[in-house]
Amino acid sequence: MATDVEGSGAGSRRGANHRLYGWLDDRFHITPLIEFLRHKYVPVHRHTVWYYMGGVALFLFMVQVISGILLVLYYKPDEGNAFESVRFITTKVSFGWLIRSVHSWSANLMVFFVFVHMFSTFFTRAYKKPRELTWMTGFVMLALVMGFGFTGYLLPWNELSYFATKVGTDIAGAVPLVGNAIKVLLRGGDDVTGATLTRFYAIHIALLPAIFTAILVAHLIFVQRQGMHEPEYVQKLPTERKKMIPFFPNFLLRDTLLWLMVLNMVLFLAVFFPWELGEKADPFASAPEGIRPEWYFMFMFQTLKLLPAHVWFMEGEVLGIVGFGVLGVAWLLVPFWEMKRRPDGRPRPITLIGVAAIIYMVVMTIWGYLV
């Protein structure tokens, strides 16, 4: 008797689900989408792990959006209240300390995973035809993520962030021809003031998210349409030796597993290493010692510091900025100038360039923190 009741209950639920599905399918034609996902396969090989890096970055972006929205509820973007409002969030708002700390940690991890994702794509040469635009949209998102970091760093309006923004915008001001205009545009005047703070806030929570989301959607559509890139050695394997798993649900479940682990890591860092607030910025105070940009700008900052005042006919700083600009564009255009494999089987020059870039960035970053 009881079984009959349960059985008929489950049956009616199934019936209700079907009716809802049918209702939605009638209007939005979701069956082809489900079919697409059902027939989408992800290759499994020894480099599969790198496929997850973009997913982790995406997950952290979602964490940023959610925690960011929660912070916006209390944050006040003006010179007199910014620091106090962040302190209020971390001390008085229920779980505010957690949200703020999660936002800060997740931001840093996101930058880290975006870099990992970028380099893994670079070394597996997944940027090659037909994925040139996927690479380029990814590169633009890397730049935007750094923009998120730069603008977000100022928002607590503390001593370090204030002076780091001063230095950072000064560097932007050294760009030939348009530098001063960029600096004034960023600062909203000649100096870093409350106007800069409001401007950075608008860029951080409105302008960048809008652009980023649009590019992210394009990036994800490209990935879905073209599928996962297979490394060359996998491409050469006969079909029967290629191992595949369905994207849905297998790959998505693996993604979820990793996201859970990353979430756990973010929470661990937020709880055990809460992000410090520091002292409120005082524009009239002299700059404190040890002003540093965020770690992901450090390799560039350290390079600019090490360059001599004058190199040939140019100022050292200008040369550095122009140099990074040129290298950035070259990196963006990698799919179009990639060097071919050497016939003798030695490592490709492009791989060596990538390794050199990583070594340079790591060494300069460590150097920047040591001195």
Partner: protein
């Protein structure tokens, strides 16, 4: 002739004449040879009304500049030149005449160089004339000369001592700058070295019964460090305690007033206390007895009490009531100070772990205020009043310590909470992992 040129010549002329007038006064060795009260004073009295601005052609400037008689740059910021006062304004004479005999003749009102004894009256001709001075500064004091003659410097000058400071000794002869100008010899930051020029010179001060280590002591004192090292012009210089034109050592009865000018509460408590009355009866030097004078050091809680080094022991000894009171006060101050330091450390710990220290900060502000008040109340020599204040402070520090402990507890609760969350996400992750394995095995 163009107006600017006339004005410029006027400035130069004013300073040249001033220079001549005060050359003798500015040096200490170069004393006058003339007899006092002779022609120059007569000339001063008979000279034209206080200075008028430049004439069309100022031959004083022309000649004295040509002969390099004036120091370079003496016109920069010069307060007299800024008021368009010419040389003749102080020294008299006829600057329009290029004939030396005529320009510096008695008929033209030429005063010449005043003797040291004449200098106060020489400057006072304008500076004691309120009608004249208010043209330049409506609120300016005009009692400098009368004050000067009440000072140790002025009295000695009247007694015939020529090795004393006159107006030019402190203000310089020419190129006098307003006291607010940081280059001025009488700017607050420069006053100690200006006074020390004579008072720190043992050779010059030989034969006088005052020490010459005041500047050295002052430089190391709490006041001197604030003024000379931190450039805090709110800190007292020599003239803030001794007066300037009427400079004299503070008397026994006035020393409390001198210190109390800034340390208002300390003075009030002290004068109202039994100790204050006893000091007056005994003729003791008020504040100076315990704190010293030029070398006054930063106070500490160890100054009061019965332990070694406490100033109370200079008069009190074991068994007397003062000794007992001093001991009690010391215990109270040290008790609050120690508890305050503990609470401060607890606040830093709360900050370090990223917890809420805002309310703790407010409580510590109150506690610190109580500590300051209790230290001020030491001057009542009333252990009960001190205790009442330290008790209020201790209540705040206790509150702060409890709040800090609460924050640290919350911090651990968060960690335990995280432990629970981890357990949940870990179970979820394991379940997911097993599900994936099961699914892929199948």
């Amino acid at each position: 002739m163009n107006v600017h040129r006339i004005q410029r010549l006027g400035y130069v002329a004013a300073s040249v004449v001033l220079a001549l007038a005060l050359i003798a006064a500015s040096g200490f060795a170069d004393d006058d040879e003339r007899e006092e009260g002779q022609e120059s004073v007569a000339a001063t009295e008979g000279a034209a009304a206080p200075a008028e601005t430049g004439t069309e052609v100022d031959h004083c400037v022309e000649c004295h500049t040509e002969e390099d008689l004036m120091p370079e740059g003496h016109l920069d910021g010069n307060v007299h030149a800024r008021a368009a006062l010419s040389c003749a304004g102080c020294h008299g004479g006829d600057p329009t005449s290029d004939d030396e005999e005529r320009a510096m003749s008695k008929e033209a009102g030429f005063v010449g160089v005043p003797t040291k004894a004449e200098i106060p009256a020489f400057c006072g001709r304008c500076h004691s004339d309120i009608e004249f001075m208010r043209r330049y500064q409506p609120r300016i004091a005009t009692d400098q000369v009368s004050q000067y003659f009440t000072s140790a410097h002025g009295r000695r000058l009247q007694e015939g001592d020529r090795n004393v400071a006159d107006c030019a000794s402190c203000h310089t002869a020419h190129g006098v700058l307003p006291a607010a100008d940081t280059r001025s010899t009488v700017h607050a930051l420069n006053v100690p070295s200006t006074c020390g020029k004579c008072h720190g010179d043992a050779e010059y001060m030989a034969g006088r019964e005052i020490p010459t280590d005041q500047l050295e002591k002052f430089s190391k004192s709490v006041h001197g460090v604030a003024l000379l090292e931190r450039q805090d012009t709110g800190a007292p210089a020599c003239n803030d305690c001794h007066g300037n034109h009427g400079a004299a050592p503070p008397g026994v009865t006035s020393i409390g007033q001198v210190c109390g000018h800034c340390h208002v509460n300390n003075m009030q408590y002290f004068t109202e206390s039994r100790m204050g009355h006893a000091f007056v009866e005994e003729g003791y030097h008020g504040c100076e007895e315990c704190h010293g004078n030029h070398g006054i050091s930063k106070t500490s809680d160890d100054m009061v009490g019965t332990q070694e080094g406490a100033v109370c022991l200079e008069c009190h000894s074991e068994g007397d009531k003062g000794f007992e009171t001093a001991g009690k006060i010391h215990v109270e101050l040290v008790g609050l100070n120690t508890q305050y330091a503990e609470a401060l450390a607890a606040q830093h710990e709360v900050q370090r772990i990223g917890m809420d220290d805002v309310d703790i900060g407010f409580m510590l502000q109150d506690a610190h205020q109580s500590l300051i008040q209790a230290r001020t109340l030491v001057h009542t020599f009333d252990a009960e009043r001190v205790k009442a204040t330290t008790d209020a402070g201790k209540q705040k520090t206790t509150g702060a310590l409890e709040a800090a402990a609460g924050q640290v507890r919350d911090f651990h609760v968060r960690r335990r909470g995280f432990g629970m969350a981890t357990l949940f996400t870990t179970i979820l992750a394991i379940a997911l992992f097993l599900r994936i394995r099961q699914m892929e095995a199948g």
